[in-house]
Assembly symmetry: C2
Homo-oligomer: 346 residues x 2
C-alpha cells in the first residue's frame, strides 16, 4: 500500500477577520470560545448545535452581536455540516458525549463522537477549511491506578479498573484524534488537537463527572447543607477555567503548528477536599464537609495518586499558558451562578 | 445515576451438544474454530459471513459435515444477526477489519468493528445467548516504543509513534471489549474476550500486517527470490498458531470464567529475521535474506524491543496453553500452501 503525502497548506488562521464554525457550540466551551473569537475580531462566528445537550441560554449574552450566527444542525447529518462549513476558515469541533452520557447511552455516544467527527472532517476537507481544532480530553490518557505523575502528550491510555463509560469516552477521543491524523496524511487537512483537563467556569453544566465536585458542592452549601466529600478527599484532579480554554482554542487556530495534540490544563492540580473547602469558603458558608462513601453504581473517574496534565507543549507550540487559578475561577463561577439563579448551564 | 447489577447466569457453554454461531467465520480463525467445535461434538456450527473479506474456500474442507451451516449475513444488519442467533448457545464474534484495511478505509473499519460489535451484543442479549466470545487482539496494547517487556492484561494502550490505521484498529478493539463489559453489567450477558497475538497457519490470508512476514517470504523463496528482511530483522513478534487459537476459543466457551479478557499467544516470541530464516529453511531453499529499508508509506507495527504477550491468565482461567511452536506451525502452513497452490486464504 502506498499513500501520497503532499505538503499541507499554511496552518495559521488568525482570529481577526476570519470566519469560524463552532460545532457543538451552544455549550460551556463553545459559548466562551465564541465570545473570545468575537472579542478578537472574527468576521463571523457560526454556532452549530442540535441542542440535544447544549442550550441557547449559553449564548444569550452574545445574541446581540451581529457577527454571531446560530444554526440548528446535527453532527450526524453530513449535509447540514456541508452547508455550514461553506466559506468558513476555521472549524472548532466540540460536539461530543462525555463519560456520564456515554455510560447511559453508548450507541449514541459512539455515534456522535466517532461518526460525528468523521462527518466534521469530511465537511472540512470538502469545503477547504484551513484548519480544524478538535477538542479532546485528558480522558485520552484514561483513568485508574496508571494515572500518576506528569502526563505528557505521549502518555499511554490506561483503562484497567476504570468504568466502561469512561473508557468508551476516552477511546472515542483517541479515535477522533487519529481520524484527524489520517485526514492530514491523506487529504492535507491541517488540524490541532486540544486535550482539555476538566473544564469549569461560567455557564457550567451538570454533564462532566469531575466538574460535579464544584457545582454539587455549591448546590448543597447554598441550601445550607454540609458539603460532601467522597472518601478522604485526597483524589487529585486537574481543572482548567473555560476562559483559558477559549484562549487556547484561539491560539490553536492562530499558531503555525499542525498535525499535533497538546494538553490544556490549569496552573496546578487540586484535590476533591480542596475543591469542596474552596467552594464552601467562596460561597461564604461555614460548613464542615462530611465524608461519604461513593455509590458503587456511580461513574467515578479515579487516578493512581499525584498526577498532573502537563501543558508545556502547548506553551511551546501555540504560545499559550493558563492564567486563572482555582480560587479566581471558582469565584467567577459562583458569582455567575448567584446572578443567574435557576439558569441551567449548557 | 444507578445501574442494577444482577447476577449473570452460569457462564459455561460446553462444546459438546451445544449450538454455535461464528460471526465473520469464513476466515482463518473461523474455519479452524468451526473445525474444532465440530470435532468436539457441537450439535451445530453456523458460520455467518458477508464474504467481503472472507471466502467460502476457507470452509471447503468442512462442507460435507451436516452439522455445519453457512449463512450469508452482514454484522451491519441487525435483523440478519437476530435471525441467525435464534436457538444459539454460544456466539464467537470474529468479524473485524484489521490495521491494513482500517488504514485503507477507516469509515468501514470503524463501522464493522464498533457498530458490528454493538449489533452482535444486541442480538446475543435479545436471543438469550449463554455466552459471547469476542476476538480482540494484542493491538489493544498498541504499538511503538512503549511495547516492551511482558504484556499482561492490565497493560495500557500505547499509541505514540504508531500509524493511524493501527491505532484506530486497537482503539476499536478496546471499545468492543468495553461494550461487552457494559452489556454484562446492564444486561447480564456472559462474555469472554480473547486477545490474540498474530494468528498464522493453514488458510492464511494477506490481511494481517505481521503475518505477511511469513507468507510474503514464502511467496518470494518459492519463486527462487531472496527473502527480504526489514532493517536488521531484530523486531520482536509474537505469533500464535490458528489451531491453538481454535482450542482457546473452545476453552473460552467451556470455562466458568466470565467478564474478563485473556491473552492468547504462542509458546514464545520470535524476530522477523528468525521468521524469514525459518520459512526459507522449511521451504527447502538455500537463500540468504537481503536487508531492505521499509517503505515509509507502509503500515508497520513496531515495538520498543523485547516484549511478549503473556498467556498465564488464560491458563489460569480457561485452562488453555499453546501447543504449536513456530517450526511446527510454519511447517504446517507451508505444507498447506504447497497443497493448495493458488488458493487464496481467507
Amino acid at each position: 500500500m502506498s499513500v501520497s503525502v503532499a505538503k499541507a497548506p499554511a496552518a495559521s488562521v488568525p482570529i481577526k477577520k476570519s470566519r469560524f464554525l463552532i460545532v457543538g457550540g451552544a455549550s460551556l466551551v463553545g459559548s466562551a470560545s465564541a465570545e473570545r473569537f468575537l472579542h478578537d475580531g472574527a468576521a463571523e462566528v457560526v454556532v452549530f448545535d442540535n441542542l440535544s445537550q447544549g442550550s441557547l441560554t449559553a449564548l444569550q449574552h452574545l445574541r446581540s452581536n451581529p457577527r454571531l450566527k446560530i444554526v440548528a444542525g446535527d453532527v450526524m447529518r453530513l449535509p447540514q455540516l456541508l452547508a455550514a462549513t461553506r466559506d468558513i476558515d476555521g472549524v472548532l469541533h466540540l460536539a461530543a458525549l462525555m463519560s456520564l452520557s456515554m455510560d447511559r447511552d453508548p450507541w449514541t455516544g459512539l455515534d456522535v463522537n466517532i461518526r460525528g467527527t468523521q462527518n466534521v472532517i469530511e465537511a472540512c476537507c470538502l469545503a477547504g477549511v484551513k484548519k480544524l481544532v478538535m477538542a479532546s480530553s485528558s480522558a485520552a490518557y484514561g483513568y485508574g491506578p496508571g494515572i500518576v505523575g506528569k502526563l505528557s502528550e505521549s502518555t499511554p491510555f490506561y483503562s484497567a479498573g476504570a468504568p466502561p463509560g469512561a473508557i468508551l469516552y476516552g477511546a472515542s477521543k483517541i479515535i477522533g484524534e487519529q481520524l484527524c491524523r489520517d485526514a492530514y496524511r491523506k487529504r492535507q487537512l491541517n488540524y490541532l488537537v486540544v486535550r482539555y483537563a476538566t473544564v469549569y467556569g461560567e455557564r457550567q453544566h451538570y454533564r462532566a463527572a469531575n466538574a460535579l465536585y464544584i457545582i454539587e458542592t455549591h448546590d448543597r452549601v447554598r441550601r445550607g447543607q454540609r458539603p460532601r466529600v467522597l472518601g478522604d478527599g485526597s483524589e487529585v484532579k486537574h481543572f482548567v477555567h473555560v476562559s483559558d480554554v477559549a484562549r487556547a482554542n484561539a491560539a490553536a487556530f492562530a499558531a503555525e503548528a499542525t498535525d499535533v495534540a497538546v494538553n490544556i490544563s490549569g496552573p496546578r492540580t487540586t484535590t476533591t477536599l480542596e475543591i469542596v473547602r474552596l467552594v464552601t469558603e467562596l460561597a461564604g458558608k461555614d460548613l464542615e464537609p462530611e465524608h461519604v462513601e461513593p455509590d458503587p453504581a456511580m461513574v467515578r473517574l479515579t487516578s493512581g495518586g499525584a498526577w498532573s496534565l502537563e501543558h508545556g507543549l502547548a506553551e511551546h507550540l501555540i504560545g499559550w499558558r493558563p492564567e486563572i487559578d482555582m480560587r479566581e475561577g471558582i469565584g467567577r463561577l459562583i458569582a455567575w451562578r448567584e446572578q443567574n439563579d435557576g439558569a441551567n448551564g449548557a
